[in-house]
């Protein structure tokens, strides 16, 4: 018989709830560890001083006023989409079509600005483009929601495919409205007249989208936490059976929530075209529909937390492109660092949920052996 009396070296046990402070300490520790690992890998592979690399990354987001505003604009757009996706995710409706719903808003706004350019005053164009962008975004979300509520279709695939539909329609209209002819681009819409352009607040082009994104973030936080709608959609997400049992109309809640989701996406599209970019391209949304999924998850669907997780994402993206230009590194190098940091951030969740015990040495084992 095996006579080796040995306690296992490590135990992993599930933690009970731990205080918020400790939770954040673990997360912070994860980021610090990630920075150290990144530094080591940078030194080995590029022979550059890692401090200089981090410095360059910092420069990418905070290097100049222009860079700070560019970073804030990216963050605002990302935040708006993340916040839009959140109620759907809380309802366990996996809306991967945030990008497509933004594109719907983009298309509606551009259409209004181009076709109405000389026909009415700028203010009216703004209003009409606002309403149509919201409607287009809501419609993009309503279609998969209705099919889900009615026939229980798979929303993940449906919304994913809707992205391509939206992008292709946008591509089609870019050719129709292209300017100059044959360029395959739209260029700046109404460059001379600035008809339908949103006003700049405090002389800052990106101020409006930043303010709106913050308002929507706070709104969503309150909506989810304190409103009856927020409560209903959480119940639907946790258990449709319970929802039916207490008389919640599940289909109605699904459709209502997704319309809200689409409205915010449409609003984002409106702000991007009429407020910041003043043009329409197929890449105007820039993959934020997917990035927003990650931002929402990292923040555990807490809209206020998304300011932080969104900032992390934007910072890494800006920093990544900065080190590739400033230090002549391959443009994928930033992605490698982002990957490492995300790995540690997500990995720290494991240590929040589980505890690792190492073997304690006590004298008794010797006598047993």
């Amino acid at each position: 018989m095996d006579n080796k009396v040995k306690e296992p070296l490590i135990h992993i046990t599930k933690r009970k709830m731990i205080p918020k402070k400790q939770e954040w300490a673990i997360r912070l520790g994860g980021i610090l560890a990630a920075l150290i690992v990144c530094a080591i890998i940078t030194t080995i592979t590029t022979h550059l001083n890692p401090i200089a690399v981090y410095g360059a990354m910092w420069e990418g987001s905070f290097g100049s006023e222009r860079k700070i505003w560019a970073m804030l604009k990216e963050l605002a757009a990302l935040l708006l989409i993340s916040v839009a996706l959140t109620p759907a995710f809380k309802m366990k409706f996996w809306n991967l079509g945030g990008g497509g719903q933004v594109m719907a808003g983009v298309l509606a706004t551009a259409a209004c600005m181009i076709t109405l350019a000389d026909k009415m005053p700028s203010g009216a164009i703004m209003l009409i483009s606002f309403v149509s962008a919201l409607f287009a975004g809501a419609l993009g979300a309503f279609i998969p929601a209705f099919c889900k509520a009615k026939w229980n279709t798979n929303e993940t695939l449906f919304t994913l495919m809707m992205n391509y539909v939206a992008t292709q329609i946008v591509a089609y209209f870019i050719i129709i409205w292209e300017k100059p002819k044959g360029s395959g681009k739209i260029g700046i819409i109404n460059q001379q007249t600035q008809a339908g352009w949103l006003p700049e607040i405090g002389g800052k082009q990106y101020m409006l989208i930043v303010i709106v994104s913050l308002i929507m973030t706070v709104f969503m936080y309150i909506y989810l936490r304190y409103s009856k709608h927020g409560y209903e959609l959480t119940v639907v997400g946790e258990s449709q059976n319970t929802a039916r049992y207490v008389g919640i109309n599940v289909g109605k809640v699904i459709v209502r929530t997704l319309i809200l989701c689409g409205l915010i996406c449409g609003l984002t599209g409106w702000l991007l075209v009429a407020g910041t970019d003043h043009t329409m391209t197929t890449t105007i949304e820039g993959g934020k529909g997917f990035l927003g999924v990650m931002v929402a998850w990292l923040a555990h669907f807490n809209p206020l937390g998304m300011i932080l997780s969104g900032l992390l994402m934007v910072f890494m993206a800006k920093g990544g492109s900065e080190i590739s230009t400033a230090l002549g590194l391959n443009s994928s190098y930033g992605d490698i660092l982002t990957g490492i940091i995300l790995f540690f951030v997500i990995g720290s969740e494991f240590f929040i949920n589980y505890q690792i015990h190492f073997r304690k040495s006590h004298g008794k084992e010797a006598t047993d052996a």
């Binding site: 018989m1 095996d2 080796k4 009396v5 040995k6 306690e7 296992p8 135990h11 046990t13 933690r15 009970k16 304190y226 409103s227 009856k228 709608h229 927020g230 409560y231 209903e232 959480t234 119940v235 946790e238 258990s239 059976n241 319970t242 039916r244 049992y245 207490v246 008389g247 047993d368």
Partner: protein, 524 residues
């Protein structure tokens, strides 16, 4: 208790803590070969934790385990199997798309068995495995087809596969964690017959349970735990239900259920010709008629799946009705047909139907929400101070009241209900439903999985509601309980009413016969 033999398993001074919770404290337990031992205790008394340490899931903080007198260390389920210990858990761990045989050989290293040098390169020998499985089944009287896919199996068949899996791996000490919780009475009988065969073949069996009549039916000895501590071991033949209960609970417990005389009896709900089909068109209720009276407990008996669930859900407005009427009679004699209304409209009419469904965490409550938010499920639609916003003050006060009055054990009101034990979950649910001030209280399997104390709390609550003049409809599975608690018993069989009997005069045999009256063989 003295015994000259060396115990097969001897646990000495076992302590296990989880954080601040002491699950087991200085437990001593001896298990002898060729015996069936019941491990009896209330929910949360540390039965499963103790056995998990024997089967290598947990590792004790303190204490030692010996097998046949030799001290051993069991730090993984594999170690446990090396010592011949196998455990059948409450939740099955089977791969649905595999056959029984494939599941059984899963994780067994056939390479080493066949003496092959390079692991992973010998062919899976399902054929030989099936042969051995058939031999095992023959020996003990199991009913398993090795080639049947798991997704085609009933719960009891899945359980059988789990047991055969453990035997196949060569265990001679079997631990079963509340094996009867998921079985019908007939299936339980079958399981017990198999366990007796195993005992006759020299195997040792430990069965974790909190049902006294099972202890009496199957075991040679009974070891009792209370609040993580070992209380004692009794020889089953020499003890009785009362003694076991007292040891288990720690104080005298009255084992009979009160049945106050109903007073002021008036019809409250008249069901007439109710017919319900399931989504796939199966007839679930067939022309069901009865009356539920105020101040009375109407028990509903029947083999599971005979339409009990559909009946309650139809009354609650959650189930589409094919035909028939559900007449609600108000105190002043006005009648409303609920069958034409949805649950929201029923609610709007001021009809207060409390419903404790069978699936507590999947339907009655939201497992991931805390106590306050669960209380809010019934009240969140009421007007708050700001339109569109939820009012959490009233549900919080209700949660406090329920925790206080029903003695719910919970770390805080912010604890998700999934973290509570089964009895406490049920108290939260029943407490919320009763707080609606109902005129009708419907409950399905209200005491399933509950320990004695919690069960009696529920019986008391039901009787209180009855005395308040509520019409209580109580769907039960334990005939003894139904006969003690109900004023009248309606027996369902295959979706039809096979009889309505008086709870005071009917006997178990009579009700049992009614349960299988229609199409008797087909049902069994």
């Amino acid at each position: 208790m003295q015994d000259s033999r060396t115990p097969a398993v001897s646990m000495r001074n076992i302590t296990k803590t989880f954080g601040t919770i002491v699950a087991n404290k200085g437990v001593n337990l001896d298990i002898y070969r060729g015996e069936i031992l019941s491990l009896l205790g209330e929910n949360g008394s540390g039965k499963t934790t103790l056995m998990n340490m024997l089967s290598g899931i947990y590792f004790p903080d303190e204490g030692e385990i010996s097998i046949d007198g030799e001290p051993v260390v069991i730090s993984s389920p594999k170690d446990a199997f090396d010592h011949g210990i196998g455990m059948i858990h409450q939740h099955f761990k089977l791969v649905n798309v595999f056959t029984a045989a494939q599941n059984i050989i899963l994780g067994i290293d056939q390479d080493t068995e066949n003496g092959k040098k390079i692991p992973g390169f010998s062919k899976l020998d399902v054929k030989n495995a099936s042969k051995i499985i058939r031999e095992i089944c023959e020996l003990y009287g199991f009913d398993v087809d090795p080639d049947q896919k798991v997704y085609d199996m009933s719960v009891s068949q899945k359980q059988t596969v789990e047991i055969v899996k453990v035997l196949y791996k060569g265990a001679d000490i079997l631990i079963l964690d509340e094996p009867t919780a998921v079985l019908t009475p007939q299936e339980t009988e079958k399981l017990f017959a198999v366990l007796r065969n195993m005992k006759a073949a020299g195997k040792t069996v430990v069965i974790i349970t909190h049902k006294l009549h099972e202890v009496e039916a199957i075991s040679d000895k009974v070891a009792i735990l209370r609040k993580g501590e070992y209380i004692g071991t009794l020889i089953t033949k020499e003890t009785n239900a009362q003694e076991m209960t007292n040891m288990m609970v720690g104080h005298e417990v009255k084992l009979n259920i009160d049945r106050p005389e109903p007073h002021d009896v008036k019809p409250r709900i008249k069901v007439q010709g109710l017919t319900v089909r399931s989504e796939d068109g199966l007839l679930k209720l067939d022309d069901v008629s009865f009356t539920a009276n105020t101040g009375e407990v109407l028990g509903i008996a029947g083999i599971s799946g005979c339409g009990q669930k559909e009946l309650l859900e139809a009354i609650a407005g959650l189930q589409p009705i094919e035909k028939g009427e559900i007449i609600y009679v108000e105190d002043d004699g006005r009648e409303t047909n609920l069958a034409e209304l949805s649950d929201m409209e029923i609610d709007a009419k001021g009809v207060s139907l409390a419903f404790v469904p069978e699936d507590r965490l999947g339907m009655g409550l939201v497992a991931n929400m805390d106590l306050v938010d669960n209380m809010m499920l019934r009240s969140f639609r009421r007007k708050g101070s700001i339109a569109g916003f939820t009012d959490r003050k009233t549900p919080r006060a209700l949660a406090e009241k329920v925790v206080d009055e029903l003695e719910v054990m919970t770390p805080s009101l912010e604890t998700p209900v999934r973290r509570l034990s089964g009895g406490n979950v049920q108290k939260v649910l029943v407490g919320r439903e009763i707080a609606m001030d109902p005129t009708v209280l419907m409950s399905a399997y209200a005491v399933r999985g509950l320990d004695i104390n919690a069960s009696y709390t529920i019986y008391d609550l039901i009787n209180q509601q009855k005395e308040r003049g509520v019409a209580v409809i109580f769907v039960g599975e334990d005939l003894d309980v139904l006969l003690e608690l109900s004023d009248r018993i309606l027996v369902l069989c295959g979706g039809k009413v096979s009889g309505i009997v008086d709870g005071r005069t009917a006997d178990k045999n009579e009700v049992g016969l009614l349960m299988t009256k229609l199409g008797g063989e087909a049902v069994g």
